[in-house]
């Protein structure tokens, strides 16, 4: 990864909440056009890192550079205008509004016209498979529907970088299988995607590059198959000494 192709550069970002060092000195470069993933055990600081990148939180130290501009601590709505949009792990629909109206809010970022925004909402709904539920209230959607809505609303802002926070969490295996091609199609359309994901099946099949975060620190990176063999990663997930035991089991088998 050379510097010239990095869309997002994170340089030594840290953030503490009182005595808890949620994110410690994390540096990573998200290359333009790639589909990458951030994984790690629960409480590793993944969502905090997303909040630091998108401007919902300000880092204590370090810099965030997007498209060559220093955006450290810049308000989220300005980052969205610049082309970086995030979704939320816990879905946040505008419950009192229809699916169409929800997505149109995102589309309004680039058009003041209500008609154009509503038309754009329809197109985006098709991309994420919500076309037949456009006139439903967001509060009437299933969990899978809300996840798609979360994605659609972000997509409607025409982002260059999409930060997806666990779009597959809470879905059943069939819903996950339906969602994976949607995410892949978004990346294929030219949007750079950085996703936080717990569903390893999805990470393995989608991501080109993976960073592993544990206790606020980056402990490994590489292709999905590289990091899943990485002893430190195995220990972060399964506990101290597991890597050695697994290796032994492999040798004796």
């Amino acid at each position: 990864m050379t510097k010239s192709t990095a869309l997002l550069e994170v340089q030594g970002v840290s953030r503490a909440f009182g005595g808890l060092k949620a994110v410690q000195n994390v540096s990573l470069d998200v290359p333009q056009g790639a589909l990458t993933a951030l994984i790690g055990p629960n409480g590793a600081g993944k969502t905090t890192l997303f909040a630091l990148l998108s401007g919902f939180l300000t880092p204590d130290t370090g810099r965030v550079i997007f498209k060559g501009q220093d955006i450290t601590g810049q308000a989220p709505h300005l980052n969205a205008k610049l082309g970086m949009t995030r979704t939320f792990q816990i879905v946040q629909p505008f419950a009192a509004q229809t699916v169409r109206e929800n997505i149109a809010v995102g589309a309004h970022l680039h058009t003041a016209s209500r008609t154009q925004a509503l038309a754009a909402a329809e197109q985006v709904a098709q991309r994420v498979g919500l076309a037949d539920q456009l006139d439903k209230l967001a509060s009437d959607l299933t969990v899978a529907g809300r996840k798609r809505l979360e994605l659609a609303r972000a997509l409607a802002t025409q982002p260059q970088l999409l930060l997806l926070d666990e779009v597959l969490a809470g879905l059943n295996p069939q819903e996950i299988a339906e969602m994976i091609p949607v995410v892949r199609a978004i990346a294929a359309s030219g949007v750079t995607v950085l996703m936080i994901e717990h569903v390893m099946q999805a990470v393995m099949s989608l991501a080109e590059h993976v960073w592993v975060l544990a206790q606020g620190q980056l402990i490994a990176q590489g292709t999905p198959s590289e990091v899943t063999r990485h002893p430190q990663v195995i220990e972060a997930y399964l506990g101290h000494g597991t890597a050695a035991r697994l290796r032994q089991a492999e040798v004796s088998a």
Partner: protein, 322 residues
Amino acid sequence: MTKLLKDMVSIGLFVWTVAFIPVLTQSGVTLNFVMMALFACLMAQAWNVLGGFGGQFSFGHALFFGTGAYFQAIAQISWGWNPWVALPAAMLAAALVGAWVGALSFRYGLKGSYFALVTLAFAEVFRIVSLSVPFTGAGVGLMLPLNESWTNMQFGSRAGFVWLILGLVTLALCVTAYLRNSRFGAYLQAVRDNEDAARAIGVNPFYVKTWATVLSGALMGSAGAFYVQVFQYIDPGIGFGSHTSVEALVGAIVGGMGTLWGPVLGALALHVLADLTRNLFGQMPGINMVIYGAVLVVIVMFLPRGIAGLYPHLPKSWRRYD
């Protein structure tokens, strides 16, 4: 038909119908009722802009009412302005107060009950200040000299006032229709429903909420200016008293927040109720507040979406307007 066109057609029908009432009847009682009902509609609609569409529950809309009323009175008495010029200026003054209070509150992230308390506090501060400074006439209040003529916005009959308040209600309806069919309105409702989600997709909540306070304040200010023209008198209690704030918010909540016709229905229903009970209880002062309180409790418990929330439950053949 697009939603905007439907909204405008329904507003047109409403205005057309109401505008004929003063032609059909000369009855002072009827016209007075229509005028006061429209006056209540205007206040409920003003509150609805910020409370219903923006989700920011103000408990101090009297602040804008009093600002508009005092401006309208002072501009004529002290500066010799024509009332037709003073009215838009009074709205502007109330809007500026809205910008100030809104910017101050939202800059520091006040939400929910904290915002409600701050608006209440501002209204009280204005009431107490207007009780003591000389240019508001202090406790005595201000009296507008009687000078009946159209150019002086003092109409010989109630009919003129009915048309004037109908014009202001129409303006409020158009602002509401704008909120239902524009980017600004979509942003405002997005912030109401989920501020963080709105921020993530490019909405600046501070800007949106402050502008909503400005619009809401301007409409409420016009109600204050209208009051002065009709009753030719204003004092701190009338201008900045909390009963005005309560009347505005109860009308909007009872009718249905964040809807086009809810505040109109709510204000009308409350006004009819207050009038009926006035005959029942006589002139017991403050009895309408007791009734408003009771109605509010019942509505919040059983009809959280207000009278307008009943609409989707009507038989399909009745629902021409969606």
